[in-house]
Each structure stands twice: as C-alpha cells, then as structure tokens.
C-alpha cells in the first residue's frame, strides 16, 4: 500500500470496515478479535461525556486486548444472559473518512447505525466509530477503536451488551 490515492485508500478502508461489520453481525467474534493488534484498545465513553478519558472519567468500556478477549469469551458463552439467545443486529457503516498519520497509520472515522432486535423489541445504537488502523503487510489491523454514542442515555437498550 504505497502511495495510494485518497479515494483508493478510502475504498480499502471501507472494504475493511464492511468486513468487520459483517463479522460482528454474524457473531463471528473470534474472527473479529483477529483484526486487532496485541496492544489494541476498545473504548466506549459514557453518553453524557463523549470526550471522556478512561484514565480520569467514568466510561462504559475501556478494554485492553486481554479484557477484549475476555469480553468475547463471555459473549461466546451460554452464560452471557443479556445475549443468550443472541440478539439480531444489523450494522450500517457510512461517511467513512480516512487520514494518513505521520507514522503511516490510518486515522479513520465512520458513522454507524447498529440495529439490535431481541425479546420482541428493536432499537438502534447511533454513533460514530473512530479507528487507528495499522498496516500489516497487505492487511490492516485495528490498534484503537472508540465507539461514541449519540444517544443521551441507554434508555432504549438498558446496556451495551453487544460490541458497538
């Protein structure tokens, strides 16, 4: 991926994000985990503090790769009751923007709409996801992933029980 033009770069990133979304909607969480680097972080700030810093503020989720693996193991088990039986989800990823950083990482943001259906009810999570993607040969890896919700609270869902 040297000297890729901007639209081509966005195409590559979109391809990656669409593949990621499909893995999540198909509940192929182990394959999804493989997209991450070993020093990766996954973060979801509180709805009332979108700029929240997990070192200072209360957030919903702040996982290093160990806890992210544990989160996936939990979601894969029969004992994660909020997701057993699993909810149906459908993700729509759009408005993808890509910036190349000085250290040749990609700083990406995308709008997401994740519809979740379960127990006779359905509602969306609406927000944006920011990524830092690292090149790994021809492939990309997620080094940082932060999902920022636009809802004022979790009154529709009661929890963040799926990966956002």
């Amino acid at each position: 991926m040297t000297a890729t033009s901007r639209p081509a770069l966005r195409g590559i990133v979109e391809e990656f994000l669409f593949r990621e979304a499909a893995l999540l909607d198909d509940w192929r969480l182990d394959d999804w985990l493989d997209l991450f680097t070993h020093d990766a972080r996954y973060m979801v700030p509180s709805t009332d503090l979108p700029e929240g810093d997990p070192g200072r503020d209360l957030v919903f989720i702040d996982d290093d790769i160990m806890r992210l693996r544990a989160r996936v193991a939990r979601l894969n088990s029969r004992h994660s009751h909020r997701e057993n039986p699993r909810s149906r989800t459908r993700r729509f990823v759009s408005n993808v923007r890509v910036e190349e950083t000085e250290d040749r990482q990609l700083s990406v943001s995308a709008n997401v709409l994740v519809y979740r259906f379960r127990s006779g009810e359905g509602a969306p999570y609406v927000g944006s996801v920011e990524y830092v993607l690292r090149r790994d040969g021809e492939d990309l890896r997620i080094a940082y992933r932060r999902a920022v919700l636009d809802m004022e609270d979790l009154s529709w869902h009661g929890a963040v029980s799926i990966i956002l």
Partner: protein
C-alpha cells in the same frame, strides 16, 4: 393476579410469617399502576431521597440538574459556598430554569420571558417590571425549594415532606456504613466526571432487591466470576457453599446491607493481581494508614470487606471493586431509570485513580461484565409477572437462621417490611426476622461473625 376491579387489600400484599419462615410478596406490587401511585404518595413524597454529592458542585455557581421522585430539580452552590436545591420550574409560568445537565452560572435566567434569579434563588430581574401592579411582590416569586434539604458526609438528600424526621435519624444504622465508605479517604470523596445512565423495563424494587442479592451471584454472573478467577482471584470453589457467608442485615427504616469479606481486590487497600505489581506498595501504605487511624478491626472492615448498601428507598452505595453510587428513579410500574456515578478518594490521581477506574469497569456499568445480565434478569422477571396466575414471589431464604448471610435474604425482607409498613401509612416497623429469644441473643454475642465485629442481637 387480581384484576383492577378487585384490588388486593394492602395488608395482604406481603406474607410475613416469622414463625414458619414464610415470606412472600404479591407480584402486583411490581405491576399495579394503583400501587405505583400509592408508592409515590406514601414513600417517595415522604422519605428522604438522594439528590447528589457535594463534589458535583465544587465552585460557586456550579449547578446540576436531576429528576428526583418525579420532580425536575437542580442544585447550585451559592457565592456563600452553600448548596441550595430548587424546583426546576419558573415561578412565573413554569418553564425549566436549568436546561442543561450541569454548568456554572452567576445568574439563572429563564429563557421564556427572561425573569432572572441569583444563585440564592431570589428574583432579581423582571423585564418591563412597571407593567405589574402594586401587589406584585418579587420577594414572593423566588425559586421554590423542596420542603427539606440535608446532607450527611457529602451526600445530599431532599424530602418533600415538611414533617420528615431529620436525616441523621432517618439514616439509622446506615450511617455507620456510609462512614465506612467515606472514612477510607483522607481528603474527602468526589464523583468523577461522567455517569452511566440506563433504563430497565422492570419495577424499581427489583433493582433494590437485586443489588443486595448474593444468591444470584454465581448463576447470573458466572462469566464475571470466571473472568476474575482467570485473573487470579483466590477462589476456593465456585459453589455457594464454598463461599464465606458474609452477613445480610436490616439496618432499620428500610436501609439494608449485604456485607462480605472481599474475594476480589478493593482499590482502597486490598491488593489483587488485576491491579498490577506496581500498585502493591501503594495499597499496603494505605492499609497501614487505615490501621493507624482506625485500629486493626475497623481498618479490616474498610479494607477487606465489601458492602452493598441500600439507603431506603432508592439509593445504593456499592463498595466492592470500586465505589458506585446507584440511583433508581421509578418512572412507571414496569420501568425505571438508573444513574450510576463513580465515587473516588480525592487524594487519588494518576496510576492509583486509573487502577480504580479500571476496576470499576470489570463488574459495574452497563458495559461491564455483570450489570447487563442483571438488567436481563429484572426484565425477565417483569415479563414473567404477566403470568398473573403465578401470584407470589418468595423471599424467605435464611429466615429461620440466627445469622443470615449474603445469599440469604434478610437484607431484602428488611426493605420489604419497611415498604409494606409505609404502604399501610406507617413510618416504622420491626424490620428484623424476629425478636431474639434470650439464648439466641447470647449466642449472637458470643460469636464473632467473621467480619471483624460482633453480630448485633436481632
């Protein structure tokens, strides 16, 4: 369940047979709109209800808005340093004065017709004042306050009942447990920025119960228990029987606690591998300080025991992997709104604070490894209540024991007994399982309960 045409007699909603050890709650208590209205009147309009923490309004002019027992309120720190609480509704024609969750202001101006108030609540500006007649008295048109406001160790409460007993008396046995939390810090506690707000499609009392319920821990939170065990929790077995029993207590006035020797880390002074080697020395230092200041016994309770404390009716202080303030706002018989905040010692910053913030997120919060499954459990119960031929819920565990543990349910019965008394229009009741016979009381006195203090004679 009885249909609305023939509502149950309030007296029959709770079966409390202390001799036979039978305790049942009629499920209409969680579903009936009439009972919900009655709770509003006889509980939420009469008790002390949590509003917020002093640290949320540090500087003069800092304000926060809240919904408390259905009312929009806000609290603001005045120029004189006093915290005042106002009904968030303009004395002119009702618009909300405070339309943000928080901020800082010198003057509070209503956007509708631009009346303005100072942080003491006085009306200080009325555009076109001269058009009002001589009987228009600005002194009568200041911001309205709830009937009572008081605080205990930084926790502010309001009551809409002018005749409410004073807050200290109301808190009864819960005061000592609040002290155990607040005394952990040298410089005072503060709420960190950010809150977890979520709604549960279930009756509010189910969360009050659930937050004190040790019996559900292993089946509901197996994934959490397994995760912590994987990180090096000293887990001597995952069966109920293998766990230390802890203690469930009714503290009077409906306040209850479930208290346990902690198996996981406590950021204050009980190290756990999840905190990392570098935290070891710091945590040992804090522990030495607590022993110095409070003696071995009380330091042990602060450092090594965890407590889930219910301040009746709708506040929880969860002091285990971190300290969470959890406020429950009932909005309908089958719906509650929950807000959780994280309370930390002011002197902690940098790595210590980061460790504590991280510890919170393992269990607590709607994105944690446990709370989502509690939400699921409560919603599942609420849906189950529609099977109305199944009229009763059982809350009798440990009722005939002399010393109920956390997986028993005295701490829930204490809540329900107060609730039932309130619903019958009474203020107080015997919340314990029974009057102790002399020999029981002597036995309780002669035996420490493993939590560093004697069980009180019940």
């Amino acid at each position: 369940m009885k249909n609305a045409a023939e509502p149950m007699d309030i007296r029959d909603l709770v079966i409390d047979d202390r001799k036979r050890g039978v305790f049942r709650v009629h499920r209409s208590c969680m579903a009936s709109p009439d009972l919900f209205q009655r709770e509003r009147r006889l509980i939420f309009d009469r008790c002390w209800i949590y509003l917020g923490h002093e640290s949320e309004v540090e500087r003069p002019g800092d304000y926060r808005r809240r919904t408390v027992a259905g009312r929009p309120l806000f609290f603001v720190r005045g120029k004189d340093g006093q915290v005042r609480v106002f009904l968030n509704s303009c004395p002119h024609r009702g618009a909300m004065i405070c339309r943000r969750d928080g901020g800082n202001a010198k003057i509070l101006r209503c956007f509708y017709h631009a009346w303005s108030f100072n942080t003491e609540g006085e009306l200080i500006g009325v555009p076109g004042r001269d058009a009002y007649g001589p009987n228009f008295d600005p002194a009568e048109l200041g911001l309205k306050k709830p009937a009572r406001v008081d605080s205990y160790r930084g926790f502010f409460f309001v009551s809409f009942n002018p005749d409410a007993e004073d807050l200290r008396t109301y808190l009864a046995g819960a005061r000592d447990y609040l002290d155990l939390v607040v005394d952990q810090t040298q410089e005072g506690m503060r709420v960190v920025p950010g809150s977890n707000k979520y709604a549960i499609k279930a009756n509010w009392k189910l969360l009050a119960e659930n937050s004190l319920d040790g019996y559900h821990l292993i089946p509901t939170h197996r994934t959490y228990v397994d995760y912590m065990a994987g990180l090096g929790t000293d887990d001597s077995g995952d069966s109920l029987a293998a766990r230390p029993p802890g203690a469930g207590r009714a503290l009077g006035n409906g306040h209850c606690v479930s208290e346990n020797i902690s198996r996981n880390g406590r950021p204050i002074a009980r190290w756990h591998p999840v905190f990392g080697e570098e935290a070891k020395e710091r945590i040992a230092r804090t522990r030495r300080r607590l022993v110095r200041e409070y003696g071995e016994k009380r330091a042990f309770r602060m450092a090594d025991t965890s407590r889930n404390l219910l301040i009746y009716p709708n506040l929880l202080i969860m002091d285990f992997v971190a300290i969470s303030i959890r406020y429950i706002e009932p909005v309908a018989p089958d719906r509650m709104e929950v807000t959780a905040w994280h309370l930390v010692p002011r002197e902690e910053s940098g790595a210590a604070l980061a460790t504590r913030l991280d510890s919170y997120l393992t269990f607590l919060g709607p994105g944690g490894f446990a709370t989502p499954d509690d939400v699921e459990a409560l919603e599942s119960c609420q849906t189950g209540f529609r099977a109305s031929e199944n009229e009763w819920s059982d809350i009798s565990r440990g009722m005939l024991k002399s010393r109920p543990g956390t997986s028993d349910e005295l701490q829930m019965r204490g809540f329900w007994r107060q609730w039932h008394a309130n619903m019958l229009g009474r203020n107080t009741t015997n919340v314990q399982d029974g009057q102790p016979t002399e020999s029981q009381a002597a036995a309780a006195d002669s035996e420490a309960d493993g939590l560093g203090h004697r069980a009180s004679a019940r």
